[in-house]
Amino acid sequence: MAIKVKVMKRSKGRSSYVRATLKGMALTFRHMAASAGDRSDVTIQYPDQKKELSPRWRGTHVMEQHEDGRPKCVACGLCPTICPANCIKLVPGEDDQGNRYPIVYEIDEFRCIFCGMCQEVCPVEAIHVGNHYENAEYSRTNFVYDLDRLMAQTHPVTLLWDPSDPAGE
């Protein structure tokens, strides 16, 4: 078989195998020299360092509470209604003074899409999405956060809009 080669019409500098190989090796060597000794500045050492979250980051929910430990939720039923993933379960109750409160309030974090509409729709600013994302569990049932667990969350809540400029203008 005759060795017939089609060499593309390119300048010598660009079509030379030897030069291209050496150029590539120089490139990898430069990168190696730049980050030798673990000096890479693009890597975040995740469990040790964490990236700072945006204040608008929507993560694990938080239920705000009064000073006496009661949830701020008035069981109006807006959040289960607006929830597009249908992950909020609410059973409303009413006490002797006629105050409504949630008997059961559960959010399935596994099903939640973290759109933050529950927080937007809440009339008393009780339910919030929060700046938190590490919610791995060993079983599916553990992803269903009940009222106590939602109130026990300590991470900061999400600012869905800038309080000084609520319309975003």
Partner: protein, 445 residues
Amino acid sequence: MLQPGTIPMYQEVTGNAFYIASAIKVLVAFVVVLVVVAMLTLLERKVSAWMQDRLGPNRVGPGGLLQPAADGLKNILKEETNPAEANRVFFTLAPMLSITPAMITFAVIPFAAPLPTPWGVVPMILADLPVGILFLLAFSSLGVYGIVIAGWASFNKYALLGGLRAGAQMISYEIALGLSLMSVLFVAGNVSLTQIVWKQQQMHMWYGLALSISFFFFWISCFAETNRLPFDLPEAESELVTGYHTEYSSMKFSMFFIAEYAHVLTVSMLMATLFLGGWDIPILQRDNMFGEVNGAWLGHAPAVWVTIVTFLAFALKTFFFIMVFMLVRWTVPRFRYDQVMDLGWKIMLPAALAAVVVTAATVLALDSAGIPMERLYWGFVPVYGLVLAVVNAVMLGAVLWVMDRGRTLEGTGSMEEKRRIAREAARARAQTRRVPVAANARQVV
């Protein structure tokens, strides 16, 4: 060069001291080699990470230094799978066959200048075989049996393909390897590696410069022999899963892994010895020593500091080659199979053969002209080495020019050309075999 008898007499160790010294050397060298191989696996991961702007393993120990230990522990504790259809005997034998030659070849490589002790001078080589290079060639080519047997015994089509590729590749490149070694052997006039180091010191020039084309071919062949990346067709991940060790797990897999890095280390040490003067330190004359020949000490007197410094020089040269191995692995993509065969048979074999002939003619001419290898003309010009270097540099330049710009190795552009020719041939064949049709039938082209 000092003549025998002009310096205090030194004698190599004999008798019981020899046995004790050998035992200590074997133990220390084996442990050092194993540790270095383990560290190479870490170095490879670190270097590749740095090249890709990552950090690499850094969780186990300071800077990830204990990662090889963790890997080893993991591999020992992991479950060992034996495919039901695999040939149990050969399946188990293959990793052993792979790792043993890789571990044995260190024995004949000198790693430092001889060390003086109160019991005599200890040569810093495990076994100074008079057939050093032949031993090395024999054992390094045994390594392919492990791979081929592994591929065959696994009862896996990918493994079999990997094994076959390894066999074909090794045979193809062993020829160029052997041919490029021939120049070294006849310039040195000996096959013992201590002699080759000594001859390079005498010539005042390393063979890497004097026999640059052999160096180049040897280097390429070494990549192929170790199955490192431009030639890693036997385990081509994107084509063959992982090739010959697809079915291997736990410590058996680990043995293939260790064998690969042991090969890299051997080959780097070998290249350092053959072409970069072994433990020789450039310019410095004090380290030029050979050893005891017929009761006379040849070369300068041995000293402890010389041994240490020469060992460091040897380690540095080896490290250089290892780094180049890694640099190339993480830069150059894998060859296509036909390219590997083309390079081996169509370029390297004839070119290496021609290089041997030309180098031999040059050596013959130099010898006939009566130019001694050791002599420095005008005090500093090693004419013998320089002539060889110029001749080899011209040949190397020619080879590089031929290999460059796709003059011999075909690129993808030529594949299109091939396809076009094949299409035309098929069309012509179809024309000749066309059944005559009725005159009023529509012509289909």
